[in-house]
């Protein structure tokens, strides 16, 4: 048995006021056909990162709708996690010297985890590359396969270092299904598994997204030195070149010339083991200089879900000035709070923003300044965009849609019924839409 992760119980019924009866009944209907099915999710870590966040919602919801779901993490020592970090980064396009020793370490720990695998499941979802070879070792040991096995890839493999992907590919080719985040991320040379696309989603009932009273929002702002009575724009992201924190400050400065009362809140989500993040933090602080209307905060100083929630809610405009992005789910978080978003036209962002309807897609600082100013100066239009954003996210990017996609995929693999997330023979942009 691998390491168990505990999750907070959730109930589908609690989402009824948000998504309506029809969607709830649809999910309940799918779940009925899977009643009692045993589902195991396996990933490398119980904390931090988008995968852990998604599993923290998905697993309890699967249980609530009548399946028997569990979440376990693989075992490994530091040497294994060093290798998986290198593997992860190289699959996202960074160059690593992928040595035979690293391959051996990865295989050894996958085998060890396969040996710890001692239960039968109807569906096993293996997340990301770290534990991907568990299936091949398990089949090698037992000579058989129980249930349907799905490899869930959360990362963008399109710039993957070829030798690492070539090494990984045979281990994922034996799966029954493979789920990618975006149609663009599907690897054309992955033959074998049936391919699905499931975009990530936000949980409207989590502390980061749930409603907060206006007074509490204002009070939280004040505690961090932000004046709730003056306009504020915000970006919540890691500090690295791809999120362009320096560009955000430049945009704010240009906008402030027209709107002198403007404030900027930047929340850096930092990892303590990421030296590059520190460098960018310092560069950002230096760029901010002596302007005390720029507030640079960090998760490591206790700025958590509820603070982020408050800053997003209070912002006149939310910025996500990415020059490169995975899915950029933070955009949906902001849209869900009724805020118009001005964001880089990269990665999954254009799936979340309809240009001119729920926000603006921009490619340069000038465009960004222009749109931010436009929204600051046209409150009515900004409010309407915000309202449309809420509806757009309600349709496509809530955790209940994510749950529905998984249920459909399970049924598709087990019984051959149609799944909207299946890639073949369907328009790719349709994923995440609600059946009419």
């Amino acid at each position: 048995m691998l390491g168990s992760v505990s999750t907070t119980p959730k109930s589908l019924d609690a989402y009824r006021p948000i998504i309506g009866d029809e969607r709830v009944e649809e999910i309940a209907g799918l779940a009925q056909r899977l009643r009692g099915a045993r589902v195991l999710n396996v990933n490398a870590t119980a904390f931090g990162g988008g995968v852990a966040e998604i599993l923290g919602t998905l697993v309890p919801l699967l249980n609530d709708v009548g399946l028997n779901a569990d979440w376990q993490v693989i075992k490994g020592a530091d040497e294994f996690f060093h290798v998986t970090k290198a593997m992860h980064n190289s699959l996202q396009g960074m160059y690593y010297d992928w040595t035979p020793a690293m391959r051996d370490t990865w295989l050894t720990y996958n085998k060890l985890n396969a040996d710890l695998f001692d239960e039968d499941w109807d569906f096993v979802v293996i997340h990301d590359p770290q534990p991907a070879a568990v299936l091949s070792f398990l089949e090698e040991r037992t000579g058989q396969r129980h249930g349907k096995w799905i490899w869930r890839c959360h990362i963008d493999l399109t710039d993957a270092q070829v030798q690492v992907w070539d090494f990984l590919r045979p281990h994922v080719a034996v799966y029954d299904g493979a789920i990618f985040t975006l149609p663009d991320y599907v690897m054309p040379d992955l033959q074998g598994p049936e391919v699905f696309c499931v975009a990530p989603a936000i949980d409207p009932l989590s502390p980061k997204n749930a409603d907060l009273p206006r007074e509490t929002v204002d009070e939280i702002l004040s505690r961090y030195g932000v004046d709730p009575h003056r306009p504020m724009i915000t970006q919540i992201s890691r500090f690295d070149p791809w999120k362009d924190p320096l560009g955000v400050i430049d945009v704010y400065r240009a906008a402030k010339r027209e709107v002198p009362e403007l404030q900027l809140v930047m929340v850096a989500s930092m990892a303590s083991d990421d030296p590059e993040g520190w460098d960018w933090y310092e560069r950002t602080v230096r760029r901010a200089g002596e302007d005390f209307d720029i507030h640079i905060l960090s998760n490591l100083n206790g700025v958590g879900n509820i603070e982020v929630n408050a800053f997003q809610r209070a912002a006149q405009v939310v910025i996500q000035k990415s020059v490169r992005e995975g899915f950029g789910l933070v955009v949906s978080e902001a849209l869900w709070k009724g805020r118009p978003v001005v964001a880089g036209n990269v990665g999954g962002i254009p799936l979340q923003i309809i240009h001119g309807e729920t926000g603006f897609l921009v490619s340069t600082n000038e465009e960004c300044v222009d749109k931010v100013l436009h929204l600051l100066q046209h409150e009515q239009e900004a409010a309407e965009m915000g309202r449309r954003g809420v509806e757009f996210v309600r349709d496509r990017f809530l955790t209940t849609r994510y749950l529905r996609d998984y249920l459909e995929i399970f049924l598709h693999l087990a019984e051959g019924t149609p799944a909207r997330a299946a890639v073949s023979g369907r328009p790719t942009e349709a994923q995440g839409t609600v059946r009419p």
Partner: protein, 412 residues
């Protein structure tokens, strides 16, 4: 020049409602003779530690008092980090095989950082033991040097302590958080400056009941049933399994009792990871136990909610460090049950502002006793807040610092 963390705006006048006008006036009076004093605070990190949190509040307030206070963070490379972490562990009493090569690397790190010290300061406060040797590589200038150790050095590993001691000799004084953290063989005068809480931080701000209830439910906690809460690093030394045992024992008397464990660190090292796994396994089978970690972006407001909602706040088995979360909880008038460790006993006077326990059995009995006697629990919480108001508000910390800085400055 070192790295500079971004500071949050803080104003002394905002503290009047908590500390009283007199305390603020006194601070201004104490600060007047040292107006313009250039004070550099040096630490190893700008984030995620009690020291960082305190500096984040105290440095802007010192500036509001008219000093020219700065906070900078020393530089380190990855190899330095492993040495300084080993040093930190050894000084905390965990055995480390300390080699000559580690000494050499530590000194190189200090030398490199000493070269980065370019601006003139009147007083330099070194907040962590790791960069202490910087002093040995700087010219004797006009600056006074204060070491402020936030670590309990009483059980430090001998060889590492002796190394540190050599470099401490050139300091003007050393400050500790608690009397119990000091040693006999200190080469310089000793001051005690306990840490303090900022009543205006998001962690301590008042919150409406409905927000508290909603957040609890988002974490799967039933607001209608009592909950006990422990905040700790994910570290085997914190005896978190002992916390679970006490709770399970108390549950036999109070079947609806819930437990929330908040981990303030992500378990990076193997010991921490196995500590987490043990907890997760229990939590997995116990619907009334909630386990959260800072890695889940659990922030100040959430901690505030958990503390406010707790029937009892526990701090069991914290061997090292001060455990200042207890002062945060006392400020919210929560009854606290704490282990008998030096930092915790400064905050909780047994039977007066909380209960001090020495074993798991005692702890379980104390939980039951407070649940059975809500009047006693309420009285302890009330006293607790008074105790914090007197001893652990940031205004008291600033006052201690004004005295120390005045003394050091006068030695010129």
């Amino acid at each position: 020049m070192y790295g500079t963390p971004a500071l949050t705006h803080r104003a002394l006048d905002d503290l009047i409602e908590h500390a009283g006008q007199d305390a603020i006036d006194e601070l201004r009076r104490l600060a007047r003779p040292i107006e313009g004093l250039r004070v550099l605070n040096l630490s190893v990190t700008g984030f995620g530690t009690g020291t960082a949190e305190l500096l984040n509040s105290s440095v802007p307030l010192m500036n509001d008092l008219g000093l020219e206070a700065q906070w900078q963070v020393v530089r380190a490379s990855e190899e330095d980090l492993s040495v300084t972490q080993d040093m930190y562990r050894a000084l905390g009493g965990v055995y480390v095989n300390w080699t000559q090569e580690m000494t050499d690397r530590w000194l190189r790190y200090a030398q490199m950082n000493a070269e980065l010290l370019t601006e003139p300061f009147d007083v330099i406060v070194v907040h962590d033991p790791q960069p202490l040797a910087l002093r040995s590589f700087t010219e004797d200038g006009s600056a006074r040097w204060l070491a402020h150790s936030h670590l309990d050095l009483s059980t430090a590993q001998e060889d590492v302590w002796l190394l540190l001691r050599q470099h401490l000799e050139k300091y003007d004084a050393i400050a500790f958080d608690a009397r119990g953290f000091t040693r006999e063989d200190l080469p310089v005068p000793v001051r005690i400056i306990p840490p303090a809480i900022d009543p205006n931080s998001a962690r301590n701000m008042p919150l409406p009941d409905d927000v508290v209830h909603n957040v609890l439910e988002q974490y799967g906690i039933d607001p209608a049933r009592p909950m006990i809460c422990q905040v700790s690093p994910c570290d085997p030394a914190c005896d978190l399994m002992g916390v679970v045992e006490c709770w399970q024992a108390a549950q036999r008397r109070h079947p609806g009792l819930q437990l929330a464990v908040v981990l303030t660190t992500d378990p990076f090292d193997p010991a921490g990871r196995s500590c987490y796994e043990d907890l997760a396994r229990v939590a997995h089978d116990e619907p009334d136990m909630t386990l959260v970690s800072s890695g889940m972006e659990f922030g100040n407001v959430e901690l505030n909610v958990f503390q406010r909602a707790a029937a009892i706040v526990l701090q069991k088995g914290l061997r090292k460090g001060y455990g200042l979360w207890v002062a945060d909880a006392l400020w919210k008038e929560r009854p606290c049950i704490v282990a008998a460790s030096p930092g915790l006993q400064e905050q909780v006077v047994d039977g007066e502002s909380g209960l001090v326990i020495h074993s798991t059995d005692e702890c379980a009995a104390a939980i039951v006793r407070l649940l059975d006697n809500p009047d006693e629990a309420r009285a302890l919480g009330k006293k607790g807040r008074e105790h914090v108001a007197k001893k652990f508000l940031i205004t008291r910390y600033l006052r201690d610092y004004m005295h120390v800085l005045t003394d050091l400055h006068g030695k010129k």
